[in-house]
């Protein structure tokens, strides 16, 4: 007799061997909140919600594959991925499709790709690999090299210009360097230098970037564009009150006052309907996500996996903080989606690549112990 139940059980265990359940549970909860909010934002048809559910399924399959790749193997992707990303960025610089002054896309026959998206993963991977390689002989000069590895793609993306993505890529790389032990004196030096160079940096910004920051200070200057978004999003959040107006009852949302309501401004929809209570809950979920990620980083066995896990986790934080900050009117409007909540497939895939890497680091460590 074949032990059918046993085979199924063993097969199942094999399938889930590299899934980290706390991490999975937290992301599924955030995505559940996201789907409900997308439904509310587009409630006359469930078309977008179903689409997004499909995107989630697809992204999670990618996560599953990535989680099965051991970290040692991930290391070997670092250089090819980084170089490919860099070459593509140079290609964008040289032959990119220019649309009204911004070159972000590269045409590859049938479709167009945005190479800066690759750098969101390639950058921390590369730097973590670099510090692992020089772990035993680390000198200050290595921080300078790491800084250059960070700066070149950053400059290429900022030049496109796409400041939002450049900041995200820059942050992901900076976190690796920070965790690798960049001296506090240097960090402090940059903060001071950055502060005093602010007027100079302001002049380097493009017109539309300057306009976005000015709009933040006085939203009424751009009533049909970004200023209107900020005003209406703030009203939505504020009128939500402590307990919210209830699911599907947001007047700001359903009377069409909130723009981009299922993508970048989804937080305004959520906040109007669920209030301070809901916001608190969401912050707790994000804190749990970040906490779990940092726990994985803390327990990781190699320098590479520590740095990578730490940087990816703080990447999630950066996304969430910038998005909620911009929707609630304390940061300028840049195109950063709310992680695991906003509608859109590309961002989900990038996020779940990160989750997959975290799971790989966590579960392969446990296997080593056994």
């Amino acid at each position: 007799m074949i032990d059918f139940a046993g085979t199924v059980r063993r097969g199942w265990q094999h399938l889930i061997a590299h899934i980290d359940f706390p991490l999975l549970l937290i992301t599924v909860l955030i995505m559940g909140v996201g789907l409900a909010t997308i439904y509310s934002a587009t409630f006359d048809s469930s078309h977008r919600m179903l689409n997004q559910a499909g995107n989630m399924g697809f992204a999670m399959v990618i996560m599953w594959f990535v989680s099965r790749i051991p970290p040692q193997k991930l290391m070997s992707f670092a250089i090819p991925l980084y170089i490919a990303g860099l070459l593509l960025l140079v290609a964008v610089f040289l032959f990119g499709i220019k649309v009204n002054g911004a070159k972000r896309w590269l045409s590859i026959g049938v479709t167009r790709i945005q190479p800066s998206e690759i750098m969101k993963i390639a950058m921390p991977l590369m730097l973590a690999w670099y510090f692992q390689k020089y772990e035993a002989t680390l000198r200050f000069k290595h921080f300078i090299v790491a800084g250059l590895l960070l700066l070149i793609p950053f400059a290429l993306i900022a030049k496109q210009p796409d400041l939002g993505t450049a900041l995200l890529v820059g942050a992901a790389g900076f976190f690796v360097i920070f965790f690798a032990g960049l001296p506090w004196k240097v960090i402090l030096g940059f903060v001071v230098a950055g502060g005093s160079a602010a007027p100079f940096l302001w002049n380097m910004l493009h017109d539309y970037q300057q306009r976005r920051i000015l709009t933040l200070i006085d939203p009424t200057t751009d009533p049909l564009g970004a200023g209107y978004h900020i005003i209406q999003a703030t009203i939505a959040i504020g009128s939500g009150g402590a307990f919210g107006k209830g699911f599907l009852n947001g007047t700001q949302t359903h009377l069409e006052f909130i723009p981009e309501k299922h993508t970048d401004f989804i937080f305004a929809v959520y906040s109007e309907e669920w209030g301070l209570l809901g916001n608190g809950l969401l912050l707790v979920l994000y804190t749990l996500l970040i906490g779990r990620g940092l726990m994985i980083a803390s327990a990781a066995p190699t320098l590479f996996s520590r740095l990578l896990a730490g940087a990816i986790t703080l990447g999630f934080f950066t996304y969430a903080f910038i998005n909620m900050g911009m929707v609630s009117g304390i940061l300028p409007v840049v195109g950063v989606p709310l992680p695991f909540m906003s509608y859109g497939g590309t961002a989900l895939v990038t996020l779940f690549l990160g989750i997959g890497i975290l799971m790989s680091i966590q579960t392969h460590r446990m296997l080593v112990k056994k």
Binding site: R139, L224, G275, L303, L314
Partner: protein
């Protein structure tokens, strides 16, 4: 910094920094929480009131799209106002029931329902979607009487785009259509979202797409008070929209019409350019289509018919068809030889009717050859042997260099489509091109034998009619080259200010006048005593030209008999010309697909176009093929 290399200290430092990160994250989230408390608890009453008072909404007012007129002011694209019946799905309840009920008082066809379904799928939320367009006054009145029964259904006055000339110049003008996801991406990448609020149509092809952001105008808005259902009650403030800019073309609509008629039901293309400016006088691609079909969203049947038709009416042959230039290449070859010092006008060859290279014989069309042939005779009688030898003497790289400077094998950058990626490059053969084109090493090498048929415009050569017309115009303009363009000026509707699109030439080839004169003299000879003489018999002006025939089908040495070959396999007929020869006002390239000899079907079209443009002579209908026209061109 010695402690960099102590693993234990490293780990401690890492753990410390993780702790620091945790503190930082918590602080940052605390700032957010603080902001939420400020907005949702402390300022709650204020925002609550504002949300309740948020009865004031901004309604975008879509600007009038710019009007397109030809060089003489003939309107080619404009707008008219008509009533549409629209449904806002979020307010209308059950859609099917609503539409059924509407159908009882207003005529709603199955195709209207189909279109509504499709638009509903593509629509942004809360947008109102047309169920019927172009209501009659009677229908508007009928609906008004029943309006109370239909919440979320409204009659709206909307502007519609119309192309009064119908199918004429449709490839140049292009058309507009409903905004799709792909257009949205374009708008977003161009940072124009705010300006496209309320706009539901956008340029899809041709000038309508290339000049989209000129034609669109600035969206205005109205601050209105709305009731709880979202319906406007009272207007508070109105910022009027700024209409889009008008386009004044270099195109001559009448010339365009005459040219299209001259093609009859033949497939092909003609591009006519004003040499002194690069302005396009006529750009024809036949068959054409009616752009008005696209404005309301084309019906699936019409789309299928246009898209699957074997003669491909949707393709703009002027910029997307690449054809071997055949013998129209010869004047450019001769000019290259003069400029590079490879030939003098007097230098003559003795033509036995073939040219042997290695163990291959390249044949001339005329059995027994043309006898002694100098440069003049080589063009007038289209002698192949002269150019086989010339190409061999010059070498492929010299040919490619000179033809490249005339713009052949490169996108002209004509102002059509979103950007120039919609234009074909054609093929300018060279060693580098071949290396890039083929994968296998033995195919990548350029063989000297391949250069020989390049000399008569065959082989790998392939150019668009636009490129040929540009090269001809450059020749007519003594080497001063312009980017071909359809729009002469953009007229700001408000200030009346005019902006020239292309005021300056892109380059001067610095040709020697002496050499240009030799070529002109020979091309005039073509139409006096050579292959174009029948087509231009009795013309009261001097015209420089050259016929050409481009091979579609290789006959492998067999004699080409036109009637023995199926229509789709007949050769393409070409003709290039400029007139008047001494002071050119028009330069053109004609291509008739499967037209046989250039003299037979392409040259008569050119005659009609030039007759009308220079003399104002109106022809009657299509140009006739002239089966008796002699062609002395190669079918190597």
């Amino acid at each position: 910094m010695g402690d960099f290399n102590n693993p234990e200290a490293d780990l401690d430092r890492f753990q410390f920094r993780l702790g620091f990160a945790v503190v930082f994250v918590l602080l940052a989230f605390a700032v957010l929480l603080g902001r939420f408390v400020w907005l949702q608890v402390i300022q709650h009453d204020f925002y609550q009131t504002r949300a309740e008072d948020n009865r004031i909404t901004l309604i975008p007012i879509v600007p009038n799209r710019g009007v397109i007129t030809d060089r003489n002011g003939v309107v080619m694209a404009h707008n008219y106002s008509a009533f549409t019946l629209e449904i806002t799905p979020s307010l209308a309840g059950k859609l099917d029931e609503t539409i059924d009920a509407l159908a009882e008082i207003i005529d709603i066809q199955p195709k209207d329902r189909k279109r509504f379904k499709r638009l509903l799928d593509e629509a942004k939320n809360f947008e109102s979607i047309p169920i019927r367009t172009r209501l009659s006054d009677g229908e508007v009145a009928k609906f008004a009487a029943h309006r109370y029964r239909f919440p979320g259904v409204e009659v709206k006055a909307r502007l519609f785009r119309q192309y009064p000339l119908g199918a004429i110049a449709s490839h140049a003008i292009g058309y507009i259509g409903r905004i799709t996801d792909r257009d949205l991406t374009w708008i977003e990448e161009s940072e124009k979202q705010a300006n496209y609020k309320g706009t539901d149509h956008i340029g899809k092809t041709g000038l309508e797409q290339h000049y989209e952001f000129e034609l669109h105008g600035d969206t205005g808005y109205e601050e209105v008070e709305i009731d709880a259902g979202g319906r406007a009650v009272r207007s508070l403030k109105r910022i009027p929209p700024v209409p889009g800019n008008n386009l004044k073309l270099t195109l001559d609509a009448k010339l365009q019409e005459i040219t299209e008629q001259a093609f009859g039901d033949r497939k092909g293309s003609l591009v006519a350019i004003e040499p002194a400016t690069g302005g396009i006088l006529a750009m024809v691609s036949t068959p054409t289509f009616d752009p008005n079909l696209f404005v309301d969203g084309i019906t699936p049947d019409n789309w299928k018919e246009l898209n699957e038709h074997p003669s491909k009416p949707m393709i703009n042959r002027a910029i997307n068809g690449a054809y071997p230039p055949g013998s129209t290449f010869k004047p450019f070859m001769a000019l290259a030889a003069l400029e590079m010092g490879k030939r003098t006008p007097q230098q003559a060859i003795s033509d036995p009717g073939y040219f042997n290279f290695g163990n291959h014989q390249f044949r001339d069309d005329k059995k027994g050859g043309h006898g002694m042939v100098d440069m003049y005779k080589s063009i007038v009688h289209s002698c192949d042997t002269y150019y086989y030898i010339l190409a061999n003497d010059m070498g492929i790289e010299n040919i490619a260099k000179f033809m490249g400077s005339l713009g052949l094998g490169q996108r002209t950058g004509v102002d059509l489509g979103k950007d120039d990626s919609g234009e074909s490059k054609g093929v300018l053969p060279s060693q580098a091109w071949k290396k890039q084109r083929f994968k296998k090493p033995e195919q990548q090498k350029w063989y000297a034998g391949e250069t020989i048929s390049i000399g008569i415009g065959q082989g790998y050569n392939a150019y668009t009619p636009m490129q040929l017309a540009q090269a001809t115009a450059t020749l007519a303009n003594n080497g001063v080259m312009f980017r071909p363009h359809l729009v002469r000026e953009i007229v700001d509707t408000k200030s009346g200010e005019k902006r020239l699109v292309e005021p300056r030439p892109i380059r001067d080839l610095n040709l020697k006048q002496r050499n240009v004169d030799v070529i002109r003299h020979a091309m005039v000879g073509v139409n006096k005593e050579g292959t174009g003489a029948r087509a231009f018999a009795g013309a009261p002006y001097e015209v420089a030209g050259k016929t050409g025939t481009a091979q579609v089908y290789s006959l492998k040495g067999a004699q080409y008999k036109e009637h023995a070959v199926k229509k789709e396999l007949r050769d393409h007929a070409l003709f290039i010309a400029y007139a008047p020869a001494e002071n050119p006002k028009i330069a053109l390239a004609v291509l008739v697909e499967n037209g046989g000899f250039g003299a037979q079907s392409a040259a008569p079209i050119a005659r009609m176009v030039i007759d009308y443009y220079l003399l104002g002579k109106l022809p009657g209908g299509a140009a006739k093929e002239d089966p008796a026209a002699i062609e002395e061109e190669s079918q190597e």
